[in-house]
């Protein structure tokens, strides 16, 4: 699975992109976020607050109950501030 990080999620994680092998027991975004938090203190800091996490699977916004599979591209980022 390809993970993309943007804005201050990227600076806390220390990478714009990661390739991860999704554990078989993880079936949805909720599970993915919880698992990613365990990867490093930076990951935990980026994902500290559920309310501040936006998720796009294959470039489309999804909620935490959305299913994920190892072939997905999952982007994680804070609330947007363009315009």
């Amino acid at each position: 699975m390809r993970i993309l990080w943007f804005a201050w999620f990227r600076t806390r994680v220390g990478a714009a992109e990661e390739a991860v092998t999704l554990p078989a027991e993880i079936r949805d975004v909720r599970g993915l976020v919880d698992w990613l938090r365990t990867r490093s203190p930076g990951h935990a800091a980026a994902l500290a607050d559920d309310a501040a996490i936006r998720v796009a699977v294959n470039q489309t916004y999804v909620k935490f109950d959305h299913p994920v599979t190892d072939g997905d591209e999952v982007a994680l980022f804070p609330p947007v501030t363009g315009g």
Binding site: A56, P79, V80, T81, G82, G83
Partner: protein, 166 residues
């Protein structure tokens, strides 16, 4: 003064670019060959020199290439579905910008003034809450990521119907 109106079709323009844009040329391109258009409402966003209580020297706009364009097209399509529009435009810059620089231009063109106003407000409100852009500001106190504002969520919520809830 005779013959049917030429229907040039609905126009949807979405662009993300580093370069500056020419407001007059963008709006002229939108209305060219569409004589049913009676009015164009546009919103031009600029970099301010003050944000909260800090002076801003410059900012860098980051985005999610690919998804940004998809979201802007989706927002534009929804505006066309909601209002009788002839044309819409969203142009947004990325990269380093300074106070006074143009950031974004949204425009909606319609036979009807109220539709143009409502659709333009809708475009910028949704862009601000859904399009994946982030601002990194350089202030006197160092660099900081701009925080999302509750007032922007409230502005977008005005338009909220089942089809726009994520």
């Amino acid at each position: 003064m005779s013959g049917p109106s030429v229907d040039a079709g609905k126009l949807v323009v979405v662009r993300v670019q580093h370069e500056d844009f020419d407001v007059g040329a963008e709006i002229a391109a939108l209305t060219q060959g569409r004589p049913a258009i009676g009015g164009v409402t546009s919103f031009l966003g600029l970099v301010r020199d003050i944000h909260g209580d800090a002076r801003v020297g410059a900012m860098t706009l980051e985005h999610f290439p690919g998804m940004t364009e998809r979201e802007l097209a989706r927002i534009s399509d929804e505006a066309h579905a909601r209002w009788p529009l002839e044309a819409t435009l969203i142009v947004h810059r990325v990269g380093r910008l300074e106070p006074g620089d143009r950031i974004v231009l949204c425009a909606a063109a319609s036979a009807h003034r109220q539709a143009a106003f409502d659709a333009c407000a809708f475009l910028i409100d949704f862009l601000k809450t859904r399009a994946p852009f982030w601002k990194l500001e350089a202030t006197d106190g160092g660099e900081r990521w701009v925080e999302a504002r509750a007032s922007d969520d409230a502005a977008a919520a005005r338009w909220q119907g089942p089809e726009t809830r994520s």
